[in-house]
Symmetry: C2
Subunit: 322 residues, 2 copies
């Protein structure tokens, strides 16, 4: 019983992160405050992509066409057992993003190809979007029985989004990049706060790391430390939801990426360390005294009755998408 | 250890339902389809409220003024240990409701008085709202150690909202009443579907009752049964999220209310049984074949690091609202 429960939790953690990315394209940047790129070094030419690299995935178009369904195959049930809340979470997040002006949503699924379910939600959402996929390689997934934190989650997917930005955005294009998770809660004010990001902007995150809130500590407009409950010696003890990056800074550092083998809690540092120093962080949200994003998590629903009814041939209609 | 864990879960269940009510006031009802009130009996005069009744709470104004803070009292920390996700959930739900035209949100807290935290979220939301409170009486709360389902949750709060509707709405006013929970996920299409409700309209609910979905079964435009995993003999085997009521029907039945002593799973039936018969239900969402609402639940966050830091005097700043 104990072992079974642990396995169920593991399956949940491994599949719970779709890897959602939100490239906020700021159209009306203030001409009186041009982006300060921290005297970024001259941009080296991009190496050609290596198709044998574990992170390589072939380039795809803005809205990749889906192959027509095979008429000789029975219709695929829309039931995706390991992640039944996926559609609900995307619907809810899309309603938040639909309020935000000049936003482009880059959604990267942890899958071999973009799914019809996610594609349908995005198409119906009214939000401008790009739908990609990047599958976590088996050697970075952890084996059954491994602790869920052995490998960071969402690294491949975020790197895929970074590659999309580098492939499609012009070097001088204004914009702000934020890495959003599908079950966090975002105040609409957060998006206004991050709009003025030049390098890397930061703010508090609620209900994260076992704390009521984590936050950068600010003195005289500068980040001078961090309130965190865990390994404060990390270079950037920040949650993924607690920072945004100026697009020009990102494009000026073509090698900055998330390390899929980063130690627990060091995924954010592996990326930010290639862009700025902690002293260069730009505090937002009233000098980091306002919580505008919450690290909420959606419970995995228990579907015991469904399994019972399915054994009796009376399960919920598999043709109805949930 | 076992006992402690069980107590923590009990506290969570008891306080997790704020009781949120959403009175959808449809302003542009179709004049060619006047509400069909199922030949409702003539409306008996309302008995005067009984202040000794356990459900009685004194009438309050639309936006009750709050007393000024006592300057001799230290500032109250905004930390509400049993329900840390309350603000996040309200913020997220308010973003959904903000998309819905002609909606009025009636929020009823399970508390002696409306709280400043909830009032602040509502005032900042941009949604038209009324903020009320109704405390669950101690004898209907269950004692520590009682199972969480011994008494239905949210009955007092929904009844308070019904009383508000009866106190403030004119008998012929058009409108649709929907009982929303703060952690469910609502498609925007759901609100369009319920807008044409005359008596009681119904639709599927996803991820509820241990099933992928529960739904009314429809034949030739009529509800002829229910797909449910539990006690299908209930008069209305429907979740609270699966129906809406026409305001005129509600006002024509001044005694219809939720029974706070209803048996487990019978709370919806205790209310709907006073309004319609199952055969009168009006199917929506493409004859109940579309899932437009999901019974999602937000995990209770673990705040172990917070407790550790607080013991060392280094807890998160209590003046920052989360």
């Amino acid at each position: 019983m104990r072992l079974r429960l642990r396995n169920i939790f593991l399956v949940y953690f491994v599949v719970s992160l779709v890897g959602l990315f939100c490239a906020l394209r700021e159209l009306g940047e203030d001409p009186f405050h041009p982006p300060d790129l921290f005297k970024a070094p001259p941009i080296p030419p991009m190496p050609p992509p290596d198709p044998f690299h574990p992170l390589y995935s072939p380039p795809d178009s803005f809205h990749p066409p889906r192959p027509p369904p095979d008429p000789f195959q029975p219709p695929q049930p829309h039931f995706s057992p390991p992640r039944p809340v996926q559609k609900a979470e995307l619907v809810r997040l899309s309603q938040t993003l639909l309020h935000v002006p000049a936003l482009h949503w880059v959604v990267v699924e942890d899958a071999a190809a973009p799914s019809a379910l996610v594609g349908g939600v995005l198409a119906a959402s009214g939000v401008s979007f790009t739908h990609l996929s990047a599958e976590t390689p088996p050697d970075l997934r952890g084996r059954p029985g491994d602790p869920s934190w052995l490998f960071p989650r969402g690294a491949e997917q975020r790197n895929r989004a970074l590659r999309w930005l580098r492939d499609t955005r012009g070097r001088d294009e204004p914009g702000v990049v934020y890495f959003a998770d599908d079950d966090n809660t975002y105040s609409l004010r957060l998006f206004e706060e991050m709009r003025s990001t030049r390098g890397v902007s930061v703010w508090p995150v609620g209900l994260v790391g076992g704390l009521r809130l984590e936050r950068p500590l600010v003195s005289q407009g500068r980040v001078v430390g961090f309130h965190t409950g865990w390994r404060p010696e990390r270079p950037f003890p920040l949650d993924m939801a607690g920072f945004a990056v100026g697009l020009r800074l990102l494009l000026a550092h073509p090698r900055a990426r998330f390390d899929p083998r980063a130690e627990r809690g060091f995924l954010e540092s592996s990326f930010l360390g290639g862009l700025v120093t902690p002293a260069q962080l730009e505090p937002r949200a009233d000098n980091c005294t306002q919580v505008l994003v919450w690290h909420t998590r959606t419970e995995k629903p228990k579907l015991r009755q469904e399994e019972q009814l399915q054994r009796q041939g009376r399960g919920s209609d598999p043709n109805i998408e949930v």
